[in-house]
């Protein structure tokens, strides 16, 4: 079994994940036995009604939260019971986040925002500037390096976020409703960009509730009451 789930082929492997929140006396089973594996280079859309557990799954996927029980192998490492510092290091090294509300730091320039994870990796300033410029041009913002996020449109901001997510060459890209705050034209633009990244070999896992957006992914995973309802 262990050989089959080697990190190289399956960067993300869930084994019987449970997440239980205690709210007063009540126990909420946000994840109730989730087993799944995501193949390298695949593009997944995780769907489900609100309260289905898809956000919890994303938080655990992104190493922002730990499962109550079960195992999560990220690139072959069991990350389900690491301490806070180690989880920080894992996020820094393996994961690129793209959020619904872009989550750029307003007082930093576009270039500085893209280079932010490099700063935490200890990359020296000169090199990280180079990398930031390169990824800015990948997302078509080479002329906006010195701008502040507030001077950009929503679509442009999301492109900065994509560049930031790509800057550390992560194993997986996690997108949480990446088009939730965008109009339909810009949404198409952003989705095409994600598809392109996937074609270049990135594993992309996206949470969305919009069917039209989920269409861009090769695979869909439907969550219901903390369990996987279907995978295709």
């Amino acid at each position: 079994m262990k050989e089959e789930i080697s990190g190289a082929e399956y960067p993300v492997v869930f084994e019987d994940l449970h997440k239980i929140y205690e709210m007063g006396n009540e126990k909420v089973r946000a994840l109730d036995g989730v087993t799944a594996q995501f193949k390298k280079g695949s593009f997944w859309a995780i769907m489900g009604a609100s309260g289905s557990g898809k956000s919890t799954m994303l938080n655990i996927l992104g190493c922002l939260d730990r499962p109550t029980s079960g195992s999560y192998f990220l690139d072959g490492h069991d990350v389900s019971s690491l301490d806070d510092d180690s989880l920080s290091d894992i996020r820094l090294k393996y994961i690129g986040f793209i959020f619904q509300s872009f989550n750029l730091i307003p007082q930093l320039t576009v270039a500085e925002n893209i280079a932010l994870p490099l700063y935490y990796q200890g990359v020296d300033e000169g090199h990280s500037e180079e990398v930031a410029a390169r990824f800015a041009s990948v997302v078509g913002l080479e002329n906006r390096l010195k701008h502040r996020p507030t001077e950009l449109s929503g679509g442009q901001q999301q492109r900065v976020a994509i560049a930031r997510a790509l800057a550390t060459d992560p194993v997986i890209l996690l997108a949480d409703e990446p088009t939730g705050n965008l109009d339909s034209t810009t949404s198409v633009e952003i989705m095409e960009m994600l598809v392109n990244m996937n074609k270049m070999g990135k594993t992309v896992i996206m949470v969305t509730h919009e069917t039209s957006i989920a269409e861009y992914a090769q695979h869909r995973l439907l969550m219901k009451d903390g369990r996987i309802d279907s995978m295709e």
């Binding site: 938080n59 992104g62 922002l64 939260d65 806070d84 510092d85 920080s88 290091d89 894992i90 996020r91 820094l92 090294k93 994961i95 986040f97 959020f99 989550n103 750029l104 730091i105 307003p106 007082q107 932010l116 994870p117 700063y119 935490y120 990796q121 200890g122 020296d124 300033e125 930031r164």
Partner: protein, 424 residues
């Protein structure tokens, strides 16, 4: 290590940038520390200036000297109803001998006989303050010789009619260096002017240099022979008749650590021969010690005030940093999600607080140097800004930054990234 270095530098830059984003707020936050640090340095500088002046005064009196002054005994001073009575008080010629011969720690005693006599020099006639003393005076009260020479042992032994003018006395007489060798009449006797020495007076009224009120020195032996010990003066209808042998004795002690013991011995010795306490002993060293103790007290009071103002400044900084952390919860969430460790968040906010407190400290140093400068210019008070006070002030402002920055920074780092990202 190299990475750490550049990271701290970048955190400093980032901190500065964040503070410049809210210029007014940062400035107001810093004010507490600016005034705290500024007032510490300024007050210390003013205190240092004042005490340095006082110490200098005392040093002019000589730290190894004991000064015994003649004084009318307490019960005699008010009884001038009977205007033919003569008051006899003061130090005796024998006192000088006794002190010199019985107390081993005494190196020398200088007798001082103060008088006032009508004097005439050329065409000028004025009253002069005359001091009869010995050559030892000039060894103890070292003053620059402007012209001629000072009194010698031979002058005293030979009852020489020789006079040494002080700079002040020479000015009153309109005498210059050409006066050396010429004659001056003092109280009916003629003296030869043998020298002029510099005067040293103090600006502060509370303390007097030994030669502050003296116009001319003559040998004690000569003074005794010419004028005797009785002083007679008619003033506002009353007759003042006094008999005083010596008005002052300056005792020079061999070592500074023996000064206080010697003073006690002198006290006991004089008590044996004086029925009434018609003298006062003052010890410049004790004054010096007292001045030092006063200075210490002053420093403690200043330190407490400074401590409180810095505490207030620190609390102000903490308050603003807590507000900043709340305001930037989302930023903290983003940084954590991207992969910043907790201690990296701590260091970011801590450095930002330190930039704030260091900035306040530096401006405060400027204020603290500027105020004493103003005081010196406009109030004509000496001030001394010492380097240690600046170093300490700077150290304190950095410490305030660390102490009051830690709590907000740790609080920032404890935020749950998921919660923080949801924060609007």
């Amino acid at each position: 290590m190299k990475i750490n270095h550049s990271r701290i530098r970048r955190d400093f830059k980032l901190g500065l940038k964040n503070l410049l984003l809210h210029k007014l707020r940062s400035l107001l936050t810093m004010l507490g520390l600016v005034f705290g640090v500024g007032s510490v340095i300024a007050m210390l500088a003013i205190g240092e200036g004042a005490s340095a002046e006082a110490m200098e005064q005392i040093r002019k009196l000589g730290s190894r000297n004991i000064i015994i002054s003649a004084q009318k005994a307490a019960d005699e001073s008010g009884s001038s109803q009977d205007d033919v009575r003569m008051s006899i008080y003061g130090l005796l010629y024998d006192d000088a001998e006794r002190i010199n011969n019985t107390i081993p720690t005494v190196k020398a005693t200088v007798p001082v006989k103060s008088m006032q006599h009508a004097a005439r020099y050329g065409k000028r006639a004025i009253d002069l303050r005359v001091v009869g003393t010995t050559e030892k005076w000039f060894e103890l009260v070292e003053r620059e010789v402007i012209a001629g020479r000072v009194m010698t042992k031979r002058d005293v032994k030979n009852f020489a009619s020789a006079a040494v003018l002080t700079e002040y006395g020479a000015r009153r007489l309109l005498a210059t260096s050409t006066a050396i060798g010429t004659g001056i009449r003092i109280g009916g006797n003629t003296y030869e002017v043998i020298g002029i020495v510099k005067s040293e007076s103090s600006a502060d009224g509370s303390m007097q240099t030994p030669d502050q009120m003296i116009d001319v020195y003559i040998p004690l032996s000569t003074a005794k022979e010419h004028y005797g010990d009785v002083f007679h003066q008619r003033k506002q209808g009353t007759n003042i008749r006094e008999s005083v042998e010596l008005h002052q004795l300056i005792v020079y002690v061999d070592e500074e650590r023996n000064v206080e013991k010697t003073a006690e011995a002198i006290e006991r010795l004089l008590a044996l021969f004086h029925k009434k306490k018609d003298y006062a002993i003052s010890v410049p060293l004790a004054l010096l010690r007292q001045a030092e103790a006063t200075k210490r007290t002053f420093s403690i009071v200043l330190g407490s005030i400074a401590g409180i103002s810095l505490l207030v400044g620190g609390i102000g900084i903490m308050n603003i940093m807590l507000a900043t952390v709340t305001e930037r919860t989302r930023e903290i969430g983003i940084r954590r999600a991207i992969g910043a460790r907790r201690n990296q968040i701590v260091s970011q906010f801590l450095i930002e607080t330190m930039v704030l407190s260091l900035g306040g400290g530096l401006i405060g140093i400027g204020v603290g140097v500027f105020i004493p400068w103003l005081v010196t210019i406009f109030a004509h008070m000496p001030t001394i800004v010492t380097l240690p006070s600046i170093v300490v002030a700077l150290g304190i402002s950095v410490s305030v930054g660390i102490i009051f920055g830690i709590y907000p920074a740790v609080r920032a780092s404890r935020l749950d990234p998921i919660e923080a990202l949801r924060h609007e």
